[in-house]
């Protein structure tokens, strides 16, 4: 089975897991985003067929919420918390450092689709500020030097 086909099967499974009503649009987009890391034009069209939502409105929803991406996101995601407590501990400098190192602005993905750089506002561990997350792992009280090491480990991975 080609990857394309396997994707198709997965997406059907996702779509069939919700009743075909407009109120399930966001649920569907969330599951698709989680499964494929982005929402492709094809996926969006399938969701529209299923829920009866016009494409224009599905597009408006998909672009309104930050957790949806219409472009493929990186295999890994590095997130710098920019909540208030982290901001006071100069998390901005960590973001700028990553932007320089990775050559992408916050919210961007590296060309090789390896890494997406993003900021988040507060996952709720302010005692560890400034905090960085690589995928689901937390890195407390982070410094630029530690960031460099983390990136190095990731490259070697």
């Amino acid at each position: 089975m080609s990857p394309q086909e396997s994707k198709l099967i997965d997406i059907d499974e996702i779509i069939d897991s919700y009743p075909g009503r407009p109120e399930y649009l966001i649920f569907l987009l969330q599951d698709i985003q989680a499964a494929f890391n982005y929402i492709s034009p094809e996926a969006l069209a399938l969701v529209c067929d299923h829920t009866g939502v016009p494409l224009s409105r599905a597009y408006s929803v998909a672009t309104f919420y930050k957790s949806f991406s219409l472009e493929p996101r990186g295999e890994h995601e590095i997130k710098v918390c920019d909540g208030t407590a982290c901001h006071l501990r100069r998390s901005e400098l960590l973001v700028e450092h990553l932007e320089r190192r990775l050559g992408v602005p916050a919210g961007g993905t590296t060309k090789d689709l390896r890494l997406t750089l993003d900021t988040i506002s507060c996952p709720g561990c302010c005692a560890s500020s400034p905090v960085v997350m690589l995928d689901e792992d937390y890195y407390p009280k982070f410094t630029t030097r530690q960031l460099d090491e983390l990136l190095k480990d990731l490259e070697a991975d």
């Binding site: 957790s67 507060c122 560890s128």
Partner: protein, 633 residues
């Protein structure tokens, strides 16, 4: 969270009456061996970030290896956030309440051995009072806890939130039992009215009045009516609701069930922020378990009353914390607010009468029903009753979750419970109310923390974020930070918010570069007023607050930027210079190697210097230098 409890648990069996709930609770209490120790590992986000998972794994391993009598083998249990996040990872030995702080996996062996040999606590892991220098073995004696009044948080840290039996043994669903057996729905509303409870989400609207309003709307429009929980806590630096949902999800559910009983609702919705996956997981588990015991769903506890809830995950939009935007989002649309000339209690979700309360508000309801509205009204101050949970963060020693009665002076929270600012200097200001709030300067530290006093001081209660700032924090930068946040989060539906915030941020950008005039300050104030008056929803309408509050108390600092071209706190990049103190520099070369601009030069073992024209003020040299030789002017 892994299933932590290894106690023998009864198979979930539907409870068909309040009496069966009481019997189950008694059985659970009786089956508990009072001699069995529990090693409780805090699984709050703060402790997880500092390594609680590894500590738990090491404890399990050490316990397995330890040679001890099987009958007294301690249990390992993971709980929600204990609150004292800055001392994490936290481990507490129950039933004695021995409090271990900053525990590392290497400590696991000693913790287990101390228990196995009954050798008393591991001294080096005990909390040391910074004032007296003495160790304090018991959690309850530590000033951080002793000075609090933990009601909403009462079970968090002692129960396993993924085990409904633990909650039931600790008194969960007792309020529901009371309401179903001895109270008419109308009496439930009356108790909440009597309690004086005001909404914990920010605006402080009296909850009882909201419920009463919904009852009136139902008279006119009939049912269905919906109850909704706002778990879209989005204020950066605030995580109280997250910890309540994670640590005691049944408290939120029980509150909603009571609300549904009072209003005759059959369906409820929990709208939870996407960034809180653990909260979503624990709530989902709680819902399943409550359903299987007949505490949720059809014919609750055999009473004939039916109610169920569904979770809606947020999708990353701050504005969805606003009531009407939240409803639109549940309906599957882009979360844009609508004008509020019709109130949500009349026309909310799906156009039906709806009661929307925040997580902490719902979690207060069981307390009120169990103990009575009069009891609750006796806590706090007359117009702000009960307690409030705050997330105390920023430049304060004891970062964490704090619950105090309303009306406690701000300075008490920051200096006594919070242990003051690191280094012992007075704080500069405390930011409350997040992006919609303001700040209270040190001079007003005696301000009582209640809805009305904070508002009078130009700030607001908000949902409970309390961010302590010290002299190294710039108010222009903080105001700019909140504006940028809201500019980004503005849904764009109304012009005052969409364009007004951008213009305000641009003026502040200029200020941070030392550009601007008195005229700009006046323009800023008039623009702020226009946004307050003209924005569609509370988010836009309150967006100028952080600016106005900082301007009110720290006008001089704004003037220092635009007239003196200086950032007194040393934050605004265009107004600061990095320098190396030649007397402190050892010539170790580490800053020169780290500088991304190659702007630092000097010979080995000789003082280095920064080329100001090449410096981008990234701060890496300051972070790298181990000798404190890099200074900011």
């Amino acid at each position: 969270m892994a299933k932590a409890s290894n106690a023998a648990r009864p198979e979930p069996q539907r409870l068909n009456s309040v009496e069966e709930l009481a019997t189950l609770r008694q059985e659970l209490l009786d089956s508990k061996d009072p001699n069995q120790a529990e090693i409780v590992v805090c699984y709050g986000t703060g402790c997880l970030a500092s390594g609680a998972r590894q500590v738990e794994a090491a404890l399990k391993k050490a316990l397995k290896a330890a040679d001890m009598d099987v009958k007294v083998r301690p249990l390992i249990k993971t709980t929600g956030c204990r609150g004292f996040c800055s001392q994490g990872p936290l481990v507490v030995i129950q039933p004695e309440g021995i409090f271990y702080q900053k525990v590392s996996p290497q400590d696991a062996e000693d913790i287990v051995q101390a228990l196995a040999q009954d050798a008393g606590p591991v001294q080096r892991l005990l909390y040391r009072d910074p004032k007296t220098g003495e160790t304090i073995p018991h959690e309850k004696d530590i000033p951080f806890y002793k000075l609090q009044e933990r009601l909403v948080l009462r079970r968090i840290g002692s129960i396993d939130p993924t085990d409904i039996y633990d909650t039931i043994a600790a008194g969960g669903y007792q309020a529901l039992a009371k309401a179903l057996t001895s109270m008419e729905p109308e009496q439930v509303v009356a108790e909440v009215e009597k309690s004086g409870l005001r909404g914990r989400g920010g605006a402080g609207f009296p909850t009882g009045r909201k419920w009463r309003g919904a009852l009136k709307a139902i008279e006119k429009k009939g049912r269905p009516v919906y109850v909704v929980c706002n778990g879209d806590e989005g204020d950066p630096g605030a995580f109280m609701d997250c910890m309540v949902m994670e640590g005691d999800p049944h408290a939120v559910l029980e509150g909603m069930i009571l609300g549904a009983y009072a209003l005759g609702a059959e369906q409820g919705y929990l709208y939870v922020r996407a960034e809180y996956p653990v909260a979503i997981e624990h709530l989902s588990i709680a819902i399943e378990q409550a359903r299987s015991l007949g505490l949720l769903g059809e014919n609750i506890l055999g009473s004939g009353f039916s109610f169920d809830v569904r979770i809606n995950r947020g999708a990353g939009a701050f504005v969805c914390g606003e009531s009407t935007a939240l409803f639109t989002s549940i309906e599957g649309k882009a979360g844009e607010p609508r004008p509020k000339y019709v109130r949500s209690v009349e026309e909310g979700l799906w156009g039906r009468p709806t009661v929307l309360n925040n997580v902490e508000t719902w979690a207060n309801v069981p307390l009120i029903i169990e103990n009575g509205g009069d009891w609750y009204a006796g806590i706090g101050v007359p117009h702000s009753t009960g307690t409030k949970v705050f997330s105390l963060v920023g430049k304060v020693n004891n970062v964490g979750l704090v619950e105090v009665p309303m009306g406690v002076p701000l300075g008490h929270i920051v200096e006594e419970i919070g242990g003051g600012v690191p280094g012992g200097k007075p704080f500069k200001a405390v930011q409350t109310g997040g992006p919609s709030g303001g700040c209270i300067p040190y001079e007003l530290k005696d301000t009582p923390v209640d809805f009305d006093s904070l508002k009078a001081a130009g700030s607001m209660m908000g949902s409970g974020g309390m961010i302590v700032m010290d002299e190294r924090d710039c108010v222009v930068d903080v105001a700019r930070y909140f504006l940028r946040f809201l500019e980004e989060e503005s849904c764009g539906k109304c012009i005052p918010c969409r364009l007004g915030l951008t213009r305000m941020r641009e003026i502040l950008d200029d200020f941070s570069r030392g550009k601007g005039s008195q005229k700009d300050l006046e323009d800023l104030e008039s623009l702020a007023q226009a946004i307050k008056d003209g924005a569609l929803c509370a988010l836009g309408g309150s967006a100028p607050n952080p600016l106005l509050a900082t301007l009110r108390y720290f006008r001089d600092e704004y003037l220092a930027h635009i007239e003196g071209h200086k950032c007194p706190a040393g934050v605004c990049k265009d107004l600061i210079t990095y320098r190396i103190d030649p007397d402190k520099c050892t010539g170790c070369t580490s800053c020169a190697r780290m500088c991304p601009q190659g702007a630092i030069s000097g010979e080995k073992k000789k003082p280095h210097a920064i080329d100001e024209s090449a410096c981008i003020r990234c701060g890496i040299c300051l972070e790298t230098c181990e000798f404190g030789a890099v200074e900011v002017f």
